[in-house]
């Protein structure tokens, strides 16, 4: 296979992994102030993602690194062009990251409250902004002939991108709620179950809105053609199935299905994008593609060797950590943290 195509797929896989994994810990973070009525409950909610969130976030850091190495122009145009949005996201990720560590280290209620709301905002903002970013990839942003972004902040916050942002926000929140039904017990689990059921409706509605809007705003449907294949179809079916699965108390399956919905819809966007990586709204000729944005064949081949050796290893030990902490977190259990 062409190395450029392979690396496009790998970057897409890294983003998919990031949305699937960090998606639920964003969701749990968003639900934290509402699911945990007192400090003990909040600690239990955080502990469901405690061992994982940092490793999940590394998927983003790796995606960024892979983008830089394999498609330097994509990285350069995107990160400089989406400047204010990335600033907001960095601020959010900073506050959220330290909050997980800092909140338990001091027991004044105002201290804990401050960090809990930092976790909330620090999770909600990226959950929204990643949807906005993905929508802009495919809709197109003003990119000029020299590959520089030529728009402003408001070009990024167009209604279509906001619709996608709300869809990603709602799906990540749902994903988090379903994760909590999988990882908690007793009353907390019932509360998570009820929340998940409630969240399903807006998630479906916003996703439908986003899909309809995509037809109007982008060329995704034309590109995918009359028979789009199983990936987009399954992502929709998976999301629909979640409610039924929750009603049958099948948390594991429901979580798998919110996961499939997130992974497959991310894949759909990348499929519609290929071979472009960032669409120029000014002139289709100026779009960044896997060809004109990529590194040299030598660099890509080095990266491929490294990825072939280390990605399986990472999956293995990250998988093992999920196995170690497979038990549900009970509110009245002893929390070592």
């Amino acid at each position: 296979m062409e190395l450029q195509a392979l690396w496009f797929i790998l970057v897409a896989v890294l983003f998919t992994g990031f949305f699937f994994l960090e998606g639920f810990d964003f969701g749990v973070g968003i639900l934290l102030p509402f699911m945990g009525k007192d400090d003990r409950e909040r600690r239990a909610v955080i502990n469901t993602i405690g061992p994982f969130w940092d490793g999940n976030e590394v998927w983003l850091v790796t995606a960024g690194g892979a983008m830089f190495a394999a498609f330097p122009h994509w990285y350069a145009t995107l990160f400089s062009g989406f400047y204010p949005a990335l600033l907001l996201m960095l601020a959010a990720l900073i506050m959220r990251g330290v909050a997980f560590e800092f909140r338990s280290k001091h027991d004044r209620p105002s201290w804990r409250n401050f960090w809990d709301w930092s976790i909330f905002l620090g999770s909600a903002l990226p959950a929204l902004l990643w949807g906005v970013a993905m929508a802009n990839f495919i809709r197109g942003v003003p990119v000029d002939a020299s590959m520089n972004y030529a728009g402003g902040f408001w070009n990024l916050l167009n209604p279509y991108a906001l619709a996608c942002g709300l869809a990603s926000l709602s799906i990540f929140t749902l994903h988090g709620a379903v994760f909590l039904t999988l990882k908690t017990t007793g009353e907390m689990r019932e509360r998570a179950m009820a929340t998940a059921k409630t969240l399903w409706t807006p998630a479906v509605l916003l996703s439908m809105l986003f899909m309809a809007y995509t037809y109007v705003e982008t060329d995704l449907y034309q590109r995918l053609g009359i028979n789009p294949g199983i990936v987009p179809v399954f992502s929709v079916l998976a999301l629909f199935s979640v409610r039924t699965l929750l009603r049958r108390n099948a948390s594991g399956w429901a979580f798998a299905m919110t996961g499939v919905a997130i992974a497959f819809s991310t894949a759909t966007i990348f499929m519609g994008l290929y071979p472009r990586v960032l669409v120029s709204s000014l002139n289709p000729e100026w779009s960044l593609t896997v060809q004109n944005a990529s590194s040299s064949p030598y660099t890509l081949s080095i990266m491929t060797t490294v990825a072939l050796i280390f990605v399986p290893l990472v999956l293995l030990y990250q998988g093992w950590s999920y196995w170690v902490f497979r038990q549900r977190v009970a509110v009245d259990a002893h929390h070592e943290y």
Binding site: N47, G50, P51, F52, D54, G55, E57, V58, V61, T62, G64, G65, A66, F68, A69, A70, F71, P72, H73, Y75, A76, T77, L78, F79, S80, G81, Y83, P84, L86, L87, L90, A91, L93, I94, G97, V98, F100, E101, F102, K105, H106, N148, A150, S295, S296, T299, I302, M303, V306, A307, F310, V311, V314, Y317, Q318, S321, V324, F325, E336, Y337
Partner: protein, 451 residues
Amino acid sequence: MDIVFLARLQFALTSVFHFFFVPLTLGLSIFTAILETAWVRTGNRKYLQLVQFWGRIFLINFAVGVVTGIVMEFQFGMNWSEYSRFVGDIFGVPLAIEALLAFFMESTFLGIWIFGRDRLPKAVHAASIWLVALGSNLSALWILVANSFMQAPVGFRMAADGSRAEMTDFAALLFNPNVWKQFPHVLAGGIVTAGFLVIALSTWHIMKGSKGREAFVISMKFGTIYAFIGTVLVTLAGHTQMQHIMKTQPMKVAAAEALWETENPASFSLFTIGDEEKLEDLYSIRIPRLLSFLAYNSFEGEVKGIRQLQAEYEAQYGPGDYVPSVITAYWSFRLMVGAGTLMLLVSLLALWKVSRDDYRFPPLLGALFFWSMLLPWIANSTGWILAEMGRQPWIVFGLLKTEQAVTPASVVGPGELVLSIALFTALYLLLAAADLFLIRKYAALGLEGTE
């Protein structure tokens, strides 16, 4: 306002702040792992208590290091897009490998270490903190592979149209001599930073007669040996690194020495006030021959001066100003070496006390041991300031100038830069305050809350 200045200011702010936390992570992860190994092997509960005491401080520090690190990865693209386009083919690779090889390991096993104590056998738990330490220190290696390309580019060719540097030899990049001079220096710097913090807090608790004094005596012993080994290593590594820079970036050495004219044998400046416009001394005290010795391990040998190097660079690269800020390079070098010398003395003093099993500290000595913990931080920061500012006007030595590397003003203007500097300053002040508050609290708490 000038966007190059603003972008540099932001980079200085975010990277210096990030590096307040990194060295302690590097050194304290290994130190905690050593203590936990001692606990597994001996079953002596005091080791476990120390693991928990130092572990808490490690985690508070680690959190800030991680989140400020994300900024580092993003800001190359955000503020330095032309740089990213120019070096992505090379520089992106170690960054991606750093994430894949080091960050995953560090974060996954840290999660296991924090939450896994009741679920895992003791030896597996200890292995997980070793993997955290390995991951952290590997990340330092890979980022230095990236940085070394900026200091001394190897293993590349210029693209036919001159638009970017392309990698031709990955092994050359990895075995860039600069990496293997810089990495031991940074690694040892981490050990020193942790060692002196351990000495400081152990001394404080021993003097205060805190509960668990015996545990802090153990901590003092380990910390002193650790700090001493680290200080010796950091000095030796720094010495060989300087000799290497003599070959690759002589201008950096000349600026660090305020050596305006070529000398043979060259003198070492003890104290200089210079005129950067005229490139000459206003006042200077110098030790004859010492710089030649530092550079070549011999009291003979030519060290090129700033004026000659400027002329050489103009001949090689065309007209321009190739002199970095001499006052910055000169004083950061002096602060780093001065702090290093003091650390050597303090660690020897601590070693002498510990070797005599004498843990009575007169107030002045106690204060010295306590406040010496600031020395590594001074040396770490000034060392990087010298490394980066001494390379100016280049961002990639000999290939790309800093002023050519910044994101075009049409994409990121002064307004956005000022806004982001303000945002990061506010956020980082908040983080610093919260971090200091918590570290002080848990440092003072001692063994309370441990088992």
